[in-house]
């Protein structure tokens, strides 16, 4: 019998017993739907949690400080330093040379006096970095955008500075377009004026949450380089010892989360202190793995129940169709024709159930994500994306349900194929 004939026979058989096939398919749909929903939620929740731990930047990001590491630095996620170790282009080149480093982004900070139009002047830190590598930095844009990488007149402020401007976080877009006057200081050699400022204006183009460095103002690195050059033109000031360092920090991204420790160890060997949430992430990952196993287990149990339902349906079908199977063999069907008939019927039910279930599972995940998000927002917490649809999971759900149906049908199909042709003439 050709495959096309088998498909036609299967389609007719399913149509004839549409109610039973639908109920069995529904069982498969419930199982695969539950599994797809749980895996989708678990998968995206994992990504979100890890993403939060790494402050919106790459999960494999490491911060390097211009400092000598303590001997136990690698045992700690936070910076453990003892004394200055200047960071310059040579240090950057040495770290970039490391096998498991995918990027190194230099960071410069500088003292700055900010004079916003409708708030008190205040001293703070300006952060300058290579904004062309935004994807490698722990920065999340909350409103607006980041300054253009080469701009000297644009700035992004941190969300904490909103408070200084008397603006609530929910109203962050209101500060976009506001112009702030800045002054970076340098110590004068002598005379009545102790400090002199380098003045410039910048327009707020974005509000960000950032973990690049301490400071409220994020600029393209050129602006902080100008500030440093200005400061170096004056007298050395014991209050600003880091002025001697070309960079006040680096953000290094490892090739993968698994390589974070290796990269930290290599940077430690180079004599620099580092910080990265590697131990925290590892611990959280262990807990998430347990959650994944539990959720996956629940879904798998549902699928196994669906598989048993398919096996039960097909066993009943074999019993009911003993005479039909016998007739089919009596008119010349091979055992393999009968085997294929039952297997294809099972796969068809599994495939149909898998499609319905996977789509329903994605829908369930979406609804759950919306409900959780709504709850978090009502509680005044930041929303999370709990259901980013993965094509792989959906396809996996359909393929998995089909394979499971095939597996569940193996015994009934073998029984059917081995039925004697004598059944064709057997009495009721």
């Amino acid at each position: 019998m050709r495959w096309s004939d088998t498909f036609r026979l299967v389609s007719r058989s399913i149509r004839r017993r549409a109610a039973r096939a639908s109920l069995t398919g529904l069982g498969v749909a419930l199982g695969s739907g539950l599994l797809v929903a749980l895996v989708t939620i678990s998968n995206t929740a994992d990504t979100n949690v890890i993403g939060r731990l790494s402050h919106g930047g790459p999960v494999a990001a490491i911060k390097v400080a211009p400092a000598v590491p303590e001997p136990d630095q690698l045992d700690s996620d936070s910076l453990e330093s003892r004394g200055i170790h200047l960071l310059d282009d040579q240090s950057v080149a040495a770290i970039k040379h490391s096998r498991y480093v995918s990027s190194v982004v230099p960071v410069m900070t500088s003292e700055v006096l900010a004079l916003p139009p409708k708030a008190d002047p205040s001293f703070g830190l300006m952060i300058g970095t290579d904004l062309t590598q935004l994807g490698n930095l722990p920065i999340t844009v909350l409103a607006g955008r980041m300054p253009s990488p080469s701009s000297l007149t644009e700035v992004a402020i941190s969300s904490s500075y909103l408070d200084h401007l008397h603006v609530v976080p929910a109203n962050a877009p209101a500060v976009l377009g506001m112009e702030i006057e800045f002054a970076t200081p340098r110590r004068e050699p002598s005379g009545q004026v102790r400090f002199r400022g380098r003045w410039f204006r910048a327009t707020i183009v974005g509000v960000v949450a950032q973990q690049v460095s301490d400071g409220d103002f994020v600029f393209p690195i050129k602006q902080t380089q100008l500030a440093r050059e200005w400061a170096l033109g004056g007298e050395p000031d014991p209050d600003f010892p880091l002025l001697a360092s070309q960079y006040t920090g680096l953000v290094v991204v490892a090739t993968s989360l698994d390589r974070v420790h290796d990269v930290r160890a290599e940077i430690d060997q180079l004599g620099y202190a580092t910080s990265a949430p590697e131990h925290l992430i590892a611990t959280v990952q262990r807990y998430l793995r347990v959650v994944d196993i539990v959720l996956g287990g629940i879904g798998t149990v549902a699928l196994v129940i669906a598989a048993l339902s398919i096996a039960s349906t097909l066993l009943t079908a074999v019993h009911e169709r003993r005479r039909e199977i016998g007739v089919l063999k009596a008119i010349g069907a091979r055992d393999s024709d009968v085997l294929r008939w039952f297997l294809v019927e099972a796969v068809a039910i599994g495939f149909g159930g898998g499609i319905v279930g996977s789509l329903a599972g994605v829908g369930m995940a979406e609804l759950l994500g919306l409900a959780v998000n709504d709850y978090l927002l009502k509680q005044g917490l930041g929303g999370v994306e709990l259901s980013s649809i993965s094509g792989t999971i959906v396809v996996g759900g359909v393929v998995g349900a089909s394979l499971l149906a095939l597996l569940a049908a193996a015994v009934p199909a073998l029984m059917a194929s081995r039925l004697s042709a004598r059944e064709a003439v057997a009495g009721e």
Binding site: D5, L9, L328, A330, A333, A421, A424
Partner: protein, 219 residues
Amino acid sequence: MHGLSHTYRTGGDSLTVLRGVELEVEPGGYVALTGPSGAGKTTLLSILGGLESPTEGAVTVGDYAVAQLRGDQLAAFRRETVGFVFQHFGLLGALTAVENVELALALSRLNSKAREQRSLELLAAVGLAERAQHLPKALSGGEKQRVAIARATANVPRLILADEPTGNLDPDAGSAVMDLLERLRTANGCTVIVVSHNPIVAGRAEVCYRLEKGLLQPT
């Protein structure tokens, strides 16, 4: 058929239904088998058609030593050499009349266009051209049996085995079915062996045998 014996074994019990049966039918012959219920008529037919293997003895149909065939060879024998007509019609309820006939041709891997055409011709030959697209549940008993006969003759078998072909039909329908079977036998030149309790049906055959207590006797 030579020295054919058959015993059913269930657990520790055994029941011998055929005892050294000898039967020879000429090609194109028309034979009826009668006998009381449980005499082994259907068993004899099943062994002849390769649905069952005898406990002892030899069965030869044309060039086939049926008792020696296994697996796909046996399936090919049933497909190409034998046509079955059952008392219960043996139609697949999910398939229409034409699809039931096509099924026999599909197993012979005939292409779909050719087999559809042949199936419609066969249905026309049994007077059911206009019922081709009906499901078995929409057909009368006589019509179902005519579809079954069309299917049985689809691959032009050398041997047609009919097990109580009129058992579920009223006398008129039964007579029409037997007329059809005989007409097709004449047209195709095939051998027909009919099992029947009905003396009128059995009486239509050229030769009639009675099977009783496992022994076959001409009547």
